[in-house]
Symmetry: C2
Subunit: 235 residues, 2 copies
DNA sequence: TCAATAGTGTCTTTTAGACATTATATG
DNA sequence: CATATAATGTCTAAAAGACACTATTGA
């Protein structure tokens, strides 16, 4: 298939895509994991991943992995490459180069793939109550979390976690869940508003919760991708 | 070779590594490019790239590409993954998934690979005086530049461009060359000093230039990787 | 001596964080 | 009415930027 297989030491690799899908559910940051097929991995959990097909773009493989393994259909989800993991011994079944993706969606329903896919609280990862990972996915997941936490600072990525239109309180809860901190609502508002093009006003107001409260203004995503000034994490 | 080739549509890909090596030469940001082998690409320039060998890590392939194609031996160069380019039609010779790397080194000699490798001024890229790119490398290079410019803000990456020990003026010229702006030396000093763990004093002083001037204090890289507070670009 | 570069000090503007105050809803 | 949440205002401290000033060299 490839014309330049002149050297015995240069051949081809299996190429796969693994997706770390993060979402906010009940104000907690959650990660989608699936039970892998191989019987020797019973009890472990993995990122949804698929082999790349011929003539299939990497982004397409990522969407297919989410749909086929997680039952998540999210054509409008934010999807960005994270990193490629190519250690020769990372998969015991043979050399697999895996392109890892970070995916973000607004809150969705439970995955429709039954018992073999579920969301896990990110706060539980690495604790006795959390999942045991398959393959080297315990290395990919921290990279995905750090990417999300970091990009919340200097990009408009946080809006990928909320459905439009959204309120400032919803956006603030994204930052609080991803960073794991509490933020002052007043100062948060001022910083978001001063970041030019981050959000733009939408029509109408959100209904207050059951306990009452002033109705919140609604907003939509603005045109900016990088934030000026940035929304820096507290120390 | 791979045990799970059950579906005809899932096969293996050629996997390659392409490296964007940036360095500072004569206070200008420069990029290493090589002339590709295929005769139909005469007159075009490419990032040094190599196919990944069996049992070779991706980082190893990156170093090998720099050494074999550019004549650059830089085992201590900063090397980080940039992004993986896997569009099915990106290489006319067949499907090649390419893992792109960003490499940074202190100023080095001219590449020893003769006429087939040279440094180009980044400022000349995309101008009539600049190179024409082969493959999709005109998409990779802007990503590499933006990564470098962005990471100078919130990481200690700038120190990868200078050899130890270095002066604050040398470090400042890194920022000026990569960002393409002039920076106030006094304010630059204050920001670098307040970024905890960015640099640490070294022994001795640097000799002034031919025109004289007060000898500059020498520094080494500190332990920090992320900068607090960050070195933000001027608007 | 002067020119050049390193390093310090000062002033103003901007931004961040703490927190009080006002506005508008539910019950 | 009390309570809850949104939105605004105020004060202080920290940081950014402009720029004057001092220190130490080469010529």
């Amino acid at each position: 298939m490839t014309p330049s297989a002149r050297r015995a030491s240069v051949s081809t690799c299996a190429v796969a895509v693994d997706v770390a899908l993060l979402t906010l559910r009940d104000d907690r940051l959650q990660l989608l994991l699936v039970e892998p097929d191989p019987p020797e991995l019973r009890g472990r959990w993995a990122l949804p991943g698929r082999r790349v097909r011929d003539d299939e773009g990497l982004d397409d493989t990522a969407h297919r992995a989410l749909a086929e393994l997680g039952g998540i259909r999210a054509p409008d989800a934010h999807l960005e490459q994270l990193r490629t993991y190519g250690d020769p011994s990372r998969d015991p079944r043979g050399r697999v180069v895996s392109v890892a993706y970070l995916a973000l969606t607004p809150t969705t329903d439970d995955p429709s793939a039954g018992r073999h896919a579920r969301f896990w609280d990110v706060a539980d990862l690495g604790t006795p109550g959390g999942p045991r990972f398959a393959y080297d996915h315990d290395r990919i997941v921290p990279d995905a979390l750090e990417r999300a936490r970091s990009k919340l600072e200097y990009t408009s990525l946080a809006t990928a976690f909320v459905a439009e239109p959204f309120t400032l309180a919803e956006l603030r809860r994204v930052y609080e869940a991803v960073w794991g901190v509490a933020l002052d609502p007043a100062n948060f508002r001022r910083k978001v508003m001063s970041a030019r093009g981050f959000i733009v006003p939408a029509d109408g107001y959100a209904k207050p919760g059951p306990g009452g409260g002033r109705p919140a203004r609604r907003y939509r995503r603005g045109a900016a991708t990088r934030l000026h000034p940035a929304m820096l994490r507290p120390d």
